[in-house]
């Protein structure tokens, strides 16, 4: 009886989901999701396309050209983009953990929030950017459900990463335009340097524009 109810309920959900996604083809669509998943590997991450830059785990990428930066596999980690519109410099970093714990990892500044943002800014400055002109957007910090004896959030890397980014941005006096944080979904960060558009795609299929980092584009829109 209960199973039948659940079946009906699910069918009903599925229908609503189908109709809704049909009316919003560019967003949360089951079929679109599978297509975009494939395109994550085959189309979106077209490594033969020189204008596309993959920002892998724990890496920093900076460009002064017209590029699409794609940062996939963001779970509890943080994907952060900075842009200096005047200098035409865009940079993205995919940070995994809040702070450096082991001296042997000092050569991997992109892996940690405590070193990644400052290193990103430094590399962008080398290409002519000014820290005071940078505009930031960041995504990630997903979390699991928790239960158990102590209900201790200290292990929750997503929460700790988000707090660390907030602290770093504050201490470096960087301007944040938008963020998409928490929840249970994995994310992919996509940055179009030409338009300044920042999109976030979740592993359950949704994709949306998070913000436009270029003021001129924003004003034109």
């Amino acid at each position: 009886m209960e199973r039948q109810f659940l079946t009906d309920y699910l069918h009903w959900c599925h229908e609503i989901f189908r109709v809704w996604t049909k009316s919003r083809p560019s967003e949360f669509s089951g079929e679109k999701r599978f297509n975009t998943l494939e395109s994550n590997e085959r189309g979106l991450l077209d490594m033969s396309n020189p204008s596309q830059i993959l920002v892998g785990a724990a890496t920093i990428r900076v460009s002064n050209g017209q590029t699409t930066m794609i940062c996939p596999g963001i779970g509890s980690s943080i994907g952060l983009v900075a842009m200096d519109e005047v200098a035409g410099v865009t940079g993205t970093v995919h940070m995994m953990l809040p702070k450096v714990l082991n001296k042997s990892s000092l050569d991997k500044p992109g892996r940690y929030v405590s070193t990644g943002i400052a290193e990103l800014v430094r590399q962008m400055q080398e290409q002519g950017a000014l820290a005071s002109r940078l505009v930031i957007a960041y995504v990630g910090g997903a979390e699991v459900f928790t239960f158990g004896a102590e209900r201790n959030q200290q292990f929750n890397i997503g929460t700790r990463n988000v707090a660390a980014v907030s602290d770093q941005l504050h201490s470096l006096e960087l301007r944040t335009l938008a963020a998409d944080l928490g929840g249970n979904n994995g994310r992919t960060l996509i940055v179009e340097s030409a338009s300044g558009e920042v999109r976030v795609r979740t592993t359950n299929g949704g994709e949306r524009t998070l913000c436009i980092l270029k003021r001129t584009q924003l004003e034109a829109a």
């Binding site: 959900c13 998943l37 779970g75 990892s105 997903a142 699991v144 158990g148 004896a149």
Partner: protein, 287 residues
């Protein structure tokens, strides 16, 4: 929805279900036997030409940096160690089907493999740090913990969105939503598959309890290692599907393993380093 399909039917009727090569399973069993020797492992490997070639390639790879070329399988087993040979045999035996996309879980090409291999590396790391389980067994259990997703995926195509909506509406974990909607979850399906394949009991237990380690009645500390390893791997985003992090983390596992919550960060840091080191090596050999 397909709740009328029983777990047994899923396991029996899914025609393209993967298999683990017989030689890889024999090597796994042999290495867990107290009478195991390099000679007996080599004798099993010899029956599988492809696997033998991979073991020799690993022994001669730059990773081991030996000054001379090894051509004898027995010697390769001695050089690599039986446990490394077992891990390689299982990775090589599972890679061909784990690297396929699992559309039922919104996993693109290689994503399932990244998650399985990542969980193997992380589970092994947790076992080493806590000394609560054998490292190589934790690696194997981590690698094979999500067999149920492989079997269930073809039955779930295009239905994940609805299960996610249900989980979100009810505020429940994804495995719980699977149980309520389908009548079983991927853990139970994985357990049946592992049992059908006659895999060791501890591997079956890790399939069944990796999202509910406190319910495990046997091999609980090994299950705890896989539970924590699964969390570490998932939180780093390796092979996250549509179900994402929509699972419960049981902190009792940390208590049983005597891991302080603040130590998770250091373990994760080490995991990222090890994953980077091993992934390309194993993938190249397995492909």
């Amino acid at each position: 929805m397909s709740h009328t399909v029983s777990i047994e039917q899923i396991v029996q009727k899914t025609s393209d279900l993967p298999t683990i090569p017989a030689a890889a399973i024999k090597v796994m069993r042999e290495t867990q036997s107290s009478k195991a020797s390099a000679a007996t492992v080599a004798r099993i490997l010899v029956t599988d030409q492809a696997l033998s070639a991979k073991v020799l390639r690993l022994a001669n790879s730059a990773f081991y940096g030996l000054s001379r070329k090894i051509t004898d399988l027995g010697e390769a087993v001695v050089v690599l160690g039986m446990k490394s040979v077992k891990n390689l045999a299982l990775v090589a035996g599972t890679y061909p089907w784990m690297q396929r996309p699992l559309t039922g879980y919104c996993l693109g090409p290689e994503e399932m493999w990244r998650h399985a291999f990542g969980t193997a590396v992380a589970s092994q790391l947790v076992a080493r740090a806590t000394r609560k389980a054998l490292e190589d067994v934790a690696f194997t259990a981590g690698l094979l913990h999500d067999l149920g997703k492989v079997a269930l995926s073809v039955w779930l195509e295009n239905k994940m969105g609805a299960i996610l909506l249900y989980a979100g509406r009810e505020g429940i974990s994804y495995d719980e939503a699977e149980r309520r909607v389908l009548g079983y979850d991927h853990c139970q399906v994985g357990y049946h598959l592992a049992t059908n394949w006659n895999l060791p009991e501890e591997i079956c237990a890790c399939n069944l309890f990796h999202h509910k380690p406190s319910n495990a009645t046997e091999f609980q500390e090994l299950v705890d290692c896989v539970h924590v390893g699964d969390y570490i791997c998932s939180s780093m985003g390796y092979g996250l599907g549509g179900d994402g992090l929509l699972y419960r983390f049981d902190e009792e596992s940390l208590v049983r393993l005597n891991i302080k919550p603040e130590d998770i960060e250091a373990l994760t840091d080490e995991f990222v380093s090890q994953y980077e080191e091993y992934e390309s090596l194993f993938k190249e050999l397995a492909a």
